[in-house]
């Protein structure tokens, strides 16, 4: 009976993953159908049921994502993101290299605290505007924004969905990420920026034709709701302070995020319908459904079986094991969505832990692989897809071929830097 359950749970889970990666059917639809099928089959075969499914959902992850999504949804219409980009344009005085670095820094810092997709969606249009009035190609800037937001997102607990998942599963705090992930990300980021400047050397050497036009952009006019922006930024700042101490105060990050969202809602009192419309419910549904499916996989006994396959891992040099994890996860993340990969690998890593291996460092390897791998291809991360789709509607579309030439080197260099630093810092993890 157990083998039937395991086989069926496997078929449902991997069948859903294949459909998700095939992308002919919307991934949220596949995930919810798979989750329901898993519960139904689990009930028939007796390995899974509704209560177990609800237990399998990581509400900490969902709450953290929902809270941050609501905050961004309120911040978005204030024009704050345009404001920052226009400030960068003016500060660059129209010099391509300076503009490149400033926009890169802004995107990275924003993506460390906010969703990468939102950051890129809001910064990219102003980037196209700035480069058009300067008379230069937006391509290097757009691609770098996506790539640097992929890298920057790895630095914090809230920067990227895989981190939220890993943090919640491994019990890692916001500060753990600042101590263990941020330094490695900073070095990798600097490497990525250096490499990108080299890869786009020709484009960045082109002198802009109309620098004066950029100096006439008025940042104050981009802020159409300055008071709202001020309030939400204060709340966001307070939330970040709470993130620093959430572990010491025994508060889950989800409570901080939802608390901040509640405070901002109270203080700003926006049109709630409008705010909720901007929350990406399909992503939350996708996450929840994947949790339910992985829960079924766990209860069927399938994971224990796969873990036996990793018995070899126990005998492996632990540093080598971590580096292997970084590269395998990165290669997978380059071609498919890193969220299902992370959700599927979390129980596997826990399983490796049961064989007696110290898995604390492996969580970081998983985070680096999932985050940096996304840079490799045009479909590797949501941020890549966003800038590519936007650019298709412009005169300088970003093609797959261009991405391989510029993005893949970034993935290889950031993964290489992360591997080296991982090996060097291993005793500290």
């Amino acid at each position: 009976m157990e083998t039937v359950s395991i086989a069926l749970a496997f078929v449902i889970f991997f069948g859903s993953l294949i459909l998700i990666f095939w992308e002919k059917i919307n991934r949220s639809i596949v995930a919810i159908a798979g989750a329901v099928l898993m519960i139904g089959m689990g009930k028939i075969l007796g390995f899974y049921n509704e209560e177990l499914a609800v237990e399998a959902i990581d509400f900490n992850t969902l709450g953290l994502l929902l809270g941050m999504m609501m905050l961004v949804a309120m911040l978005e219409p204030t024009g704050f993101f345009e404001y920052l980009a226009v400030l960068a344009a003016r500060a660059s005085k129209g010099k391509p290299n300076r503009l490149f670095i400033l926009l890169g820094i802004i995107t990275t810092v924003l993506s460390m605290f906010l969703d990468n997709v939102t950051t890129v969606v809001l910064i990219a249009p102003v980037t196209i505007l700035i480069s058009e009035i300067l008379g230069i190609s937006p391509l290097p800037y757009l691609m770098s924004e996506a790539l640097l937001s992929n890298v920057g997102g790895v630095a914090t607990l809230v920067g990227d969905p895989p981190n939220v998942l890993i943090g919640s599963a491994a019990g890692l705090s916001f500060n753990d990420f600042l101590v263990y992930s941020l330094p490695i990300v900073l070095v990798s980021w600097a490497g990525a920026l250096f490499l990108l400047r080299h890869l786009f050397k020709k484009d960045l050497a082109k002198r802009p034709r109309r620098v004066k036009a950029v100096m006439k952009l008025n940042p104050a006019e981009t802020l159409n709701q300055p008071e709202t922006a001020r309030r939400i930024l204060i709340v966001l700042g307070a939330a970040i302070l709470f993130f620093f101490v959430h572990h010491a105060l025994h508060i889950e990050p989800s409570l901080v995020a939802l608390g901040a969202a509640a405070a901002a809602l109270l203080w700003v009192q926006p049109d709630v319908q409008e705010v909720l419309k901007k929350v990406e419910w399909s992503i939350l549904l996708f996450f929840g459904s994947l949790f339910v499916m992985v829960g079924g996989l766990e209860h069927s006994g399938a994971l224990e079986m796969t873990v036996r396959l990793f018995d070899g891992a126990a005998g492996m040099n632990p540093i080598l094991l971590g580096v292997v994890v970084i590269w395998i996860v990165a290669a997978l993340s380059a071609v498919v969505d890193n969220v299902p990969i992370t959700i599927a690998l979390i129980p596997v890593i826990k399983g490796i832990g049961e064989t007696g291996v110290d898995i604390a460092p492996l969580w970081w390897a998983l985070a680096f692989g999932a985050g940096f791998g996304g840079s490799g291809t045009i479909i590797g991360s949501s941020a890549n897809i966003i800038v590519a789709t936007l650019s298709e509607k412009t005169r300088t579309p970003i093609t797959s071929a261009i991405w391989i030439k510029r993005g893949l080197p970034v993935m290889l260099v950031t993964c290489a830097i992360a591997s080296i630093l991982y090996a060097l810092a291993y005793p500290l993890f």
């Binding site: 226009v86 009035i133 230069i136 034709r209 109309r210 036009a213 006439k216």
Partner: protein, 152 residues
Amino acid sequence: MNVTTCMKRHVVSIPASTTIREAAAIFVKKHIGLLPVVDKNDKPIGVIGIRDLLKLEMPDFVNFVLDVDFVHDFGAVEDTRPPAATLNKTVRSLMRPVITVEEDCGLLRAYSLMLQQNLHDIPVVSKDGKLIGIASRVDIGVTILKSWEKAE
């Protein structure tokens, strides 16, 4: 009253083989906003307007940035021109599907069609589908208003 009472009977139209460069010259010479594209039987197969040509020169960012108030100077895009390769293409690649009214169409019906479809000029066709005239919002609007003079 129907649309024939106010339409312009002298319509400038072009065949689909006209190049974009030639169409632009016709807009300039005739000082008009819309050119019906017709087949050899004079039946409309599409329209091309000044706005379709101007799209070729519009900066990309206007499609993404909802509010351009803060952009006081469009800079380099102010003096870009469409490349020669684009100008030498025929209007077939750029024309939109045509929405016409038949000659017996009432004025209010014609006007509301224009409002709903966001048209500034509407070609008028005969029963057998031939282009016989063109009416603008102003043509139709003032004709409707004229009837108010007789109102009590």
